[in-house]
């Protein structure tokens, strides 16, 4: 664990009196290794370490009786700050109903499952969400959302005869307005951030629905690529929050730090299982402990 490694670094320096900035550099090297091993992107690591270094060469660390703990505290504080403080488990509503939540992300990241999870979470909070899938590409994608809806008593709009994402979305908006749903959750097809045609489609869906939330659904097991994809989605469709999935595994989850850092978006929710009730508000301090190991 990083705490042990930092202890090791500072143990060898004990009895020399106050720390020097060079001693702090040695600690930073340990932190760098820990973050890289946790799959944080190497550029994000560089930027993050710089923020830590600036604070770590301050008097309260250099003069501390337990410098390893002082440095660790700085690392933890900076990381929690990067995660947006961790109280973001809210979906922005709208006075103009329905408030639209657009689910976006790479193939297989957990969008469809998370759409159903968020709907259930909204229902628990006393809301009346409508769900719709605009994924006309993946075999049985719309069936998947429909089945999740049936299994969990969620309202899913399923205009069988429509085959265009834009038309499906418009149909769902009409349905939501006429029935009075206060939220419309829109599942979209997985797509590569470098697929210009599909990214343009996503931009079009955003323009047509004016969402209050554009959520980027990211797989916690993602490696260095997390930066590229999160950044591109954020640039093209203006993501407002991140849902981190598959946290019930043992991936260290450095992708979380990469995605949050490069987009400036808060991680709002954590997927912690395949069942629709396995969604939690994202807990920043827990994530920090997991990444640091």
């Amino acid at each position: 664990a990083l705490s042990d490694r930092l202890q090791g670094v500072f143990r060898s320096l004990r009895g020399r009196g106050a720390l020097t900035p060079e001693d702090v550099d040695q600690a930073l090297r340990e932190i760098r290794l820990a973050l890289l091993e946790a799959d944080v992107h190497f550029k994000v690591v560089k930027q993050f370490l710089e923020r830590v270094r600036v604070r770590a060469v301050g008097q309260d660390v250099l003069k501390s009786l337990t410098p390893d703990q002082a440095v660790l505290r700085v690392v933890r504080d900076e990381m929690v700050a990067l995660f947006g403080g961790g109280d973001a488990a809210r979906l922005q509503g709208s006075s103009r109903l329905p408030a639209v939540v657009l689910m976006t992300g790479l193939q297989g990241s957990g969008k469809t499952t998370s759409t159903a999870k968020l709907a259930r979470w909204l229902v628990q909070g006393g809301h009346h969400p409508l769900l719709v899938s605009t994924d006309v590409y993946r075999p049985a994608a719309r069936e998947q959302l429909r089945t999740l809806g049936q299994q969990n008593n969620l309202q899913v709009h399923h205009p069988e005869s429509l085959t265009q994402p834009r038309a499906i979305l418009e149909s769902a908006l009409t349905e939501a307005r006429s029935v009075g749903h206060d939220f419309l959750l829109v599942d979209t097809a997985g797509r590569l951030h470098i697929d210009d045609e599909l990214m343009a489609e996503l931009e079009e869906l955003k323009r047509a629905s004016q969402p209050t939330e554009v959520l980027y659904v990211a797989d916690a097991m993602t490696g260095q690529d997390a930066v590229k994809s999160a950044e591109e989605f954020h640039k093209r469709v203006g993501t407002t929050g991140i849902v981190l999935t598959k946290l019930d595994g043992d991936a260290r989850g450095g992708a979380a730090l990469s995605a949050a850092s490069v987009t400036g978006c808060p991680i709002k929710f954590a997927g912690v299982g395949e069942r629709v009730d396995e969604l939690e508000p994202f807990q920043a301090d827990r994530m920090v402990g997991r990444i640091l190991g």
């Binding site: 799959d39 193939q107 990241s109 993946r138 998947q144 797989d219 595994g249």
Partner: protein
Amino acid sequence: LRGRRPLEPADLDAIEEALLAADMGVPAVAEAMEVLRARSREVWTEGRDAMRGLLRQELLRQLEQPAPAARTAARPWVVFLVGVNGVGKTTTIGKLARAERAAGRTALLVAADTFRAAAAEQLQVWAERTGAAFHRGAEGADPSAVLTDGLRAARSRGHDTVLVDTAGRLHTKGNLMAELAKMSRVAAREVPDAPHETLLVLDATLGGNALAQAREFAKAGGVTGLVLTKLDGTAKGGVAVAVVRELGVPIRHVGLGEAAEDLVPFDASSFVDALVG
């Protein structure tokens, strides 16, 4: 020796960052850099290009070791696709079904993912698209029971190949890994030496966790080969190098998209070129 110069720290840093960015992982990158430093003393190098050449050689050496076992005349030839959630197992089966048809063989697709919503429906579409036969059970049925019925159907109908779709499962879930081990035993009871292939599907976007996945799946049901999917994205899949070394099995196929034709045999040199840059 005109134009040749020893390696500079900036060159080494640039190469190290490229390898890290490709998800090769801290230990493998450190090891590759060590090899580079050691070998760069024995040859005059011409800066980064020559360094990349050395690296390419080293990585190719690591990847080309295990040669894939040849397919026998066993009938039906049974292939399991396994891996964690969302990596591309079902889609890869669709692509393999198309390849079987192109090779003049008949295939039966078995929907042994009885858990996830619309999993069987998804596989059925692939069967229709590729002209393969299809077998499923009821939603929530025991996957081993669906597998048994599917294998019996394949034997009685004389299918050449059986492609078995399994549910995505995190390697940390003991009960799900035990279920996979049971499916392997059940297959062996129905068809001698089945499953003849167990392909572990790895998503190119995976980070270091792929290694833990590989270890657990190898322990649970045995893994005979790897499929690396989504290499049409920007992720390089560098973690596959560590997996190949650890498991001693080859990367068999590479997924380059979402359509039935988007599967190619693994080509080590183009893979390594993309890693090293």
